[in-house]
């Protein structure tokens, strides 16, 4: 599964994307798995209120299932326009 990071999430984790082999059933389970990995992940995911997730490039929610998903992206609330 491709996992992408943008903006300060990318900066905290230190890379823009990585391939992750996971059996996590939901986005939330994936987040917990990542947080347990290393300090920098724990830091990036410490405040879920200021985080957004997209599954296969569509905005989604933390309790969404990951079955069949190829690309997960984490980023802060968007500031376009």
């Amino acid at each position: 599964m491709d996992v992408l990071y943008f903006a300060w999430v990318r900066e905290r984790i230190g890379l823009p994307r990585e391939q992750i082999d996971t059996t996590a059933a939901t986005v939330m389970a994936l987040i917990e798995e990542l947080k347990a990995r290393e300090e920098r992940y724990a830091l990036a995911f410490c405040d879920l209120k200021s985080l957004r997730v997209a599954l296969d490039q569509k905005l989604s929610s933390f309790d969404a299932p990951l079955a069949g998903v190829r690309e997960v992206a984490f980023f802060p609330p968007m500031t376009g326009g």
């Binding site: 992408l4 943008f6 490039q57 569509k58 980023f75 802060p76 968007m78 500031t79 376009g80 326009g81």
Partner: protein, 146 residues
Amino acid sequence: MHLSVQKAAFDAGAELNAFSAGVVGAGAVVSFTGIVRDADGTLSAMEIEHYPGMTEAAIGAIITQAQTRWDLADVLVIHRYGRLEPGAQIMMVATAARHRVAAFEAAEFLMDYLKSRAPFWKKEFGHDGATWVAAKEEDESALTRW
């Protein structure tokens, strides 16, 4: 429908004229141009990051929503990414419709959604370093009127 996510600068006037020239039967054309603003004289540059692929899809979906909601002759969205100096044009929206109310409302709708539903993130570089622009509460609540 014209949608461009690009690094290069654009000429808002030339875009407006080309857009208007391509429209048939519209009585009203509204445009919005967003400019990098140096609010307190300390901004040296802004950097806009985006999510290639999702950006185009998200903006395309926002345009489709606008077209469903209002009877629009045409819609244009240009949004830049990369490094931008104060005074530079960040993005542009244009709408064409028979009447002014639809053209205005659709342009505001597009802007409100582009603000907080298109995957762009702004980072400001100033004298004291760099900070990511925080999403504003008012931008999120602006969506509730639609």
